[in-house]
């Protein structure tokens, strides 16, 4: 089959690789109909995530059709149409049974690596480094899904792929980020980062009752989407002093909740942002927490900082004093995707949200390396790329009728 493989910084290629096979009785093989490139794939593309090995198949947002099941699988049958959560979870351990699916104890065969860095290991993930399991990802024609009884979520016929694909990651991730804000009536929620997760966080915050959402970015296309689709107030950090502006907009109080939908590669123009870039370039720090720092600084006293953005290891100059002095609450972590599949599917079915609004590019799997480049550079208005592995040869790309918006 064809699969998108990682070969190093800015080096991904479409290779011919063997087809996946059932390796464990709980596995299923899925023929992928639609998959996507996630913002967190760019952390791999940029070489920020350790324990990647040349030839690893990327991709953790995918859906398709069940073509084979292991002998212990009872919930699925051949031909079922499924969306697969990017977190791999067993459904049987202490954590899964408490809804903490992304903390699954049993799905990471390389847990000892994560334990060395984190103390304990989170769940395995598709296509996201060997530290997190080394599982082959879904930017491919086929994928093996372990613990398929809980790890492949059946989708009713009649809903097109593009409406449900993002149940695999970014919609639940944005939704959990907003849910973690514990939104009360009258609340203002500020969202750093208007990539796809930020877009879903904005919509979800309104769905959960926020009075007002303020979106922060410096990409005009993304800010426009946040304003038009998300109905957010938008701030461009190139143009305004974010802290002063947020303070002013909230009557001098600060936002009730702040969402960092940027994560470890935040960029900015302030002194601390330049300092972060220098240190990261010199390998003295692994993460650049500029957006997070600003979120902590801007958040109102007793407010919540919610972090769906991915962080890898160590943060430098983390304003813990501000967090303490203001009595902030922190909520973060990989999304417990399994928990959100059913309720969010219902939101889609009831027409309360159509997640396909984030899609800007539709290309074939062969064109994925080029799409990574475009997505990374944020050129061509690129916000979200979906890949169609079934589609062969060159397809319409970027401009023209391939674009949704």
């Amino acid at each position: 089959m064809k699969a998108l493989c990682w070969y190093g910084k800015y080096d991904v290629r479409v290779d011919e690789v063997p087809d996946p096979e059932i390796l464990n009785p709980g596995d299923a093989i899925i023929k992928i109909t639609t998959t996507a490139i996630c913002g967190s794939d760019l952390h791999l593309y940029d070489g920020y995530i350790p324990t990647m090995v040349k030839g690893d198949i990327l991709g953790h947002e995918f859906m398709g059709e069940v073509v084979e099941i292991g002998n212990a699988v009872t919930n699925l049958k051949i031909g079922d149409r499924v969306v697969v959560p990017f977190t791999i979870a067993c459904g049987k351990c202490f954590f899964c049974q408490r809804g903490l699916w992304s903390s699954c104890d049993n799905s990471n065969p390389n847990s000892h690596i994560a334990e060395a860095i984190y103390g304990f290991s989170p769940s395995g993930l598709f296509g996201y480094s060997h530290m997190l399991g080394g599982y082959a990802g879904g930017q491919a024609e086929y994928v093996r899904v372990p613990f398929a009884d809980v790890g492949a979520f059946k989708i009713p016929d009649g809903l097109p792929d593009e409406k449900v694909l993002f149940l695999s990651d970014i919609f639940p991730t944005g939704y959990m980020a907003a849910e973690n804000c514990n939104i009360q009536r009258g609340d203002t929620v500020a969202v750093w980062g208007c990539g796809p997760v930020g877009q879903f966080a904005i919509k979800s915050a309104y769905l959960l009752g926020a009075e007002r959402v303020i979106a922060i970015d410096d990409n005009p296309d993304r800010l426009r989407m946040a304003a038009e689709e998300g109905k957010a107030y938008t701030l461009n950090f190139d143009d305004v002093d974010i802290f002063e502006k947020l303070k002013h907009m909230t009557g001098g109080m600060g936002p009730d909740a702040c969402i960092d939908a940027v994560g470890l590669e935040a960029h900015g123009t302030s002194i601390d942002a330049l300092y972060d870039r220098t240190k990261a370039a010199l390998f003295m720090a692994t993460d650049r927490p500029h957006a997070l720092r600003q979120a902590i600084h801007a958040c109102r006293k007793g407010g919540t900082v919610s972090v769906p953005g991915v962080y890898g290891a160590f943060l430098d100059k983390f304003p813990f004093g501000a967090a303490f002095a203001k009595g902030l609450s922190f909520k973060m972590g990989q999304t417990h995707v399994h928990k959100y599949m059913q309720p969010l599917l219902e939101l889609i079915e009831f027409g309360q949200i159509d997640p396909s609004f984030v899609i800007t590019h539709r290309v074939s799997l062969d064109e994925a390396p080029e799409a990574y480049k475009t997505f990374k550079a944020q050129t061509d208005n690129c916000i979200k790329v979906v890949l169609k592995p079934g589609q062969r040869g060159a397809s319409s790309n970027g401009n023209g009728n391939a674009r949704a918006h």
Partner: protein
């Protein structure tokens, strides 16, 4: 990593440790009562270096705290030079004579304690473990355990460098649903002993499974220390194997990525069609895991 998948009771189970403790105390007393060294060699070197550094720091700083550190440094330096430690003496600790005698038949050079929580009752886990022939299903470097009779079994493991190691073991203490303790018999390739405790975890959270293991590695304690320095920490393997047990029992399988595709295994250009039926007849790689799933379903 090696596979001395064996465990031994060092604490927590007084009755099984009684005789061991007696012996340890006797051999230690000679050193602790007299004025001889009671600090191990490496510890002595570390003490001397640390002590010297503290004195150096104290001389530079000239503050009250500095003087206190200087005194501490002098104490450490003394400890390093003489191998005697008053604090150790007061508490009856002796790290100098830990492994000086090769205690025939007593496994004690390497001691490991690890525990894991498993979402099953102590009774179920006890039953699974008590059938020693189950152990190679999750202990990666254990090739086989063959039951000889109710108490005795024959173990085959892969040691460092792929060398096969064998021994006979007997269960010398057990309490249904709570504890199993075993030890190797005379003529073993490796002297070892182990135990496993099954404690109910609070509030229905399953079982705290606590394993201890002791063994005398070939080459003695120095070899074990050497292995540790170069990253072959036997405790890690025990931890790894306990995780595999948990995975097998809780989910019926041990997660793996072995045999999955990657760009490291290149193929000729495919037709785009998956070879139908190629996998349909294939028995899952870990069919043994499947049977565990049924067992615990």
């Amino acid at each position: 990593m090696d596979t001395w998948e064996v465990t031994f009771e060092e604490h927590g189970d007084e009755e099984t440790r009684e005789t061991e403790k007696g012996r340890d105390n006797e051999s230690n007393n000679g050193a602790t009562k007299g004025g001889g060294a009671n600090v191990g060699k490496i510890e002595r070197i570390a003490s001397a270096i640390g002590g010297g550094a503290l004195i150096g720091y104290a001389l530079k700083s000239r503050s009250k705290g500095g003087i206190a550190l200087g005194l501490l440094g002098a104490g450490l330096l003394y400890r390093g030079a003489t191998g005697q430690c008053e604090a150790y003496r007061a508490f009856g600790i002796d790290t100098a004579n830990l492994a000086t005698e090769d205690a025939a038949g007593v496994a004690r050079d390497v001691h490991i304690e690890k525990s894991i929580t498993i979402n099953r009752s102590p009774a179920e886990l006890y039953k699974f473990w008590r059938d020693f022939e189950n152990l190679p299903r999750f202990m990666e470097n254990l090739e086989s355990v063959t039951k000889l009779d109710e108490q005795r079994s024959h173990w085959v493991a892969t040691g460092p460098g792929g060398k096969q190691i064998e021994w006979d073991a007997e269960i010398y203490n057990e309490k249904e649903g709570e504890l199993i303790a075993w030890r190797s018999l005379a003529g073993s390739d490796i002297t070892n002993a182990g135990s496993v405790h099954f404690e109910p975890a609070p509030d229905g959270r399953g079982t705290y499974l606590k394993v201890t293991l002791n063994y005398n590695p070939p080459g003695g304690k120095a070899a074990a220390l050497f292995a540790k320095l170069f990253g072959q920490e036997p405790g890690q393997l025990v931890e790894h194997n306990l995780k595999r047990l948990k995975q097998l029992i809780e989910t019926g399988e041990i997660p793996t990525t072995e045999g999955q595709p990657s760009g490291r295994v290149q193929q000729n250009a495919s037709t785009g069609e998956r070879k139908q039926g190629k996998l349909a007849s294939k028995t899952p790689v870990r069919s043994r895991a499947a049977s565990a799933g049924e067992e615990f379903a």
